[in-house]
């Protein structure tokens, strides 16, 4: 990843950006996000197949934005998250530089949003293979079995909201679960409260989830909550032929009415 380090160093040296968001190996060897502000420290940056956190979550974090213009190491899911954030007016295209990383781990030349859009459009946007297999297994179950599966999984949930915090698209400063006048979602982490929380989370991400799997990766108790949003990604594609995060001018599928929308799912 010499190219990445070189490019990051340049961007910091010529003051194009004030911070580079990328990955480093911590002292115990665990890969984690790095925030490089000093060009001399650019050498800390690495990229390998263990760098799977979706870094776009930091583009809306106050203390990171405070640095100024940000460069971000961006694999396909990160690029798609960036598109989502721009289209939902959470981010200005001018406030970032994208250090794109191709599927085989090489630095891409992403000069602007249009080039990024071109790269995204050429890519396979369906759910990643490893998740497709899990979803196919789940979809073999009948509705009762599926419900029982999720009830068992969700009973483990402790409502730490790591899934929400890890997701770039969960940027609301006041999440519905935090509203208590009226209280929409029970605060308690019991079967009922957990079910409602996960249904809410999945519905708010329907048509907005870009299939990075970050929520499931973040969950400390190992609930595969990413499969809920990925299932909806599949369904949104089936009905509307749209994948999230493909352009900076997208309208959210589920909050936009088109006269020719299919309505076959309305009973």
């Amino acid at each position: 990843m010499d190219n990445l380090v070189k490019r990051a160093k340049e961007l910091l040296e010529n003051k194009t950006v004030q911070v580079v968001i990328g990955y480093e190996a911590g002292p115990t060897g665990v890969i984690r996000p790095a925030f490089i502000t000093d060009p001399e420290k650019a050498g800390k940056l690495i990229y390998n197949d263990k760098c799977d956190q979706n870094l776009a979550v930091y583009l809306t974090k106050k203390e990171v934005k405070n640095f100024g213009k940000m460069a971000i190491v961006a694999t396909l899911p990160v690029m798609r998250s960036i598109m989502m954030l721009i289209s939902e007016q959470q981010l200005f295209a001018e406030s970032i530089v994208v250090l794109g990383i191709s599927a085989d781990g090489n630095l891409l030349d992403i000069a602007d949003i249009n080039i990024m859009q071109g790269y995204i459009e050429k890519s396979d946007l369906s759910n990643p293979e490893k998740y497709k297999a899990l979803l196919a297994e789940l979809n073999k179950l009948n509705p009762e079995e599926k419900f029982a599966y999720w009830q068992k999984e969700l009973s483990k949930c402790i409502k730490c909201y790591a899934c929400r915090q890890a997701c770039p698209m969960c940027y609301c400063t006041r999440c519905t679960v935090e509203v208590n006048q009226p209280q929409w979602i029970p605060v308690q982490a019991n079967t009922h409260g957990n079910m409602e929380w996960h249904i809410l989370r999945a519905m708010h991400l329907a048509g907005r989830c870009i299939s990075c799997g970050e929520c499931g990766r973040a969950c400390p108790v190992g609930i595969p909550c990413h499969l809920l949003t990925m299932q909806l990604t599949d369904q949104v594609y089936t009905y509307f032929k749209v994948y999230a995060g493909t352009s900076d001018k997208m309208n959210s599928v589920l909050s936009t009415f088109e006269p020719n929308d299919k309505e076959s799912f309305i009973i």
Binding site: Y58, A162, A166, Q188, P220
Partner: protein, 336 residues
């Protein structure tokens, strides 16, 4: 009480476990289908693990459940009634096979819940709890009990502490009256000690907690906090898996005329935790919340509760989605 040491043979451990599960709720660790270590009530002995390093969640929920109902109410136009929780229904529980760090945490929790007013729910649950601890013969890079004044075989918090011997038998240190009662109920299983050696893991000391505490008193405004918490995403994972984190939220849940008030786990890592009704938030950004987490455990608690707020179990670090390694940060803090 004078503590005594006995021997319990490998085969007798199973008999003891079965005797306890026959008339009590025994909360014991098992390896779940997804390889996570979970505690369950009365699993079959064959399922119980003796070789785990740390369970994903701590065992604090036996005294501080993730949801605790405080009372039920009915709101009628003319009058409202409150029904208290029947404390006599809180069951006797035997915690089986929990490690010394987790057991020491009950003392830490007591120093919080019974600091001024004795919390009745916590106290009742603790009173009904007997702890058969298990010294650690395994550890990993996240463990740091020896940096916070404990060790892989510390006795704090256990009523009986089992320690594995080279030949597979166990030493049983009988530490309290509760422990003694259990031993008496199965006296024939406990024998005189042999000179077989114990297998106790070694945990390297990473920092001096005294030094960390002394450094923290002048570190409130240090740039360390922002630099080292940029990657923190502000979830509750670290607090919820932690055996000593005790913050809770109180909520009412009403259906028609009836409702209940309960408390449930909360975390100082959440932005909402300190948000005032006015809109002002004294801990506006994540670095301030991360600072609070460390300050509370290593500065405010030693000062006010005469107890550290951390037992070195390493869960917050192994469970954190972005590798906020607390031992690494404490090591750095002792030298700032």
């Amino acid at each position: 009480m004078e503590t005594t040491r006995k021997l319990i043979r490998k085969q007798s451990v199973e008999k003891l476990y079965n005797a306890l599960t026959s008339n009590r709720q025994v909360y014991a660790p098992v390896v779940a289908a997804d390889k996570q270590i979970e505690y369950r009530y009365n699993p079959g002995f064959a399922e119980v693990t003796f070789g785990h390093i740390r369970s994903t969640l701590s065992v604090k929920n036996v005294v501080f459940p993730k949801v605790e109902n405080l009372f039920f109410y009915t709101n009628a136009r003319s009058e409202s009634t409150i029904t208290d929780i029947d404390m006599s229904r809180i069951p006797e529980v035997v915690l089986w096979g929990a490690h010394p760090c987790d057991n020491a945490a009950f003392d830490t929790l007591r120093s919080i819940f019974c600091w001024d007013i004795k919390d009745e729910f916590f106290s009742k649950r603790l009173e009904k709890l007997a702890v058969i601890g298990l010294s650690c013969h395994l550890s990993d890079e996240y463990c740091f009990c020896t940096s916070v004044g404990l060790s892989p075989d510390s006795k704090k918090g256990s009523d009986i502490l089992l320690s594995l011997l080279k030949n597979g038998d166990y030493h049983a240190d009988i530490l309290t009256e509760k422990g003694n009662e259990i031993v008496k109920s199965a006296a024939d299983l406990f024998e005189t000690v042999s000179d077989e050696k114990e297998v106790i893991t070694e945990v390297k000391q990473k920092f001096s907690h005294e030094q960390v505490t002394s450094k923290l008193s002048a570190a409130f405004e240090h740039p360390f906090w922002v630099e080292n918490s940029l990657r923190c995403i502000g979830c509750g994972a670290c607090a919820y898996v932690c055996p000593t984190c005790a913050c809770f939220d109180i909520q009412d849940e009403t259906r028609g005329k009836n409702g209940k008030r309960y408390r449930s786990w909360d975390s100082c890592g959440f932005g909402l935790f300190t948000l005032h009704t006015s809109g002002h938030n004294p801990r506006e950004v994540q670095s301030q919340r991360w600072r609070q987490r460390i300050m509370h455990k290593f500065s405010y608690m030693p000062e006010r509760n005469e107890s550290l707020g951390c037992v070195g179990c390493g869960r917050c670090s192994s469970g954190c989605p972005v590798d906020m390694n607390i031992a690494e940060q404490l090591e750095a803090l002792q030298n700032i």
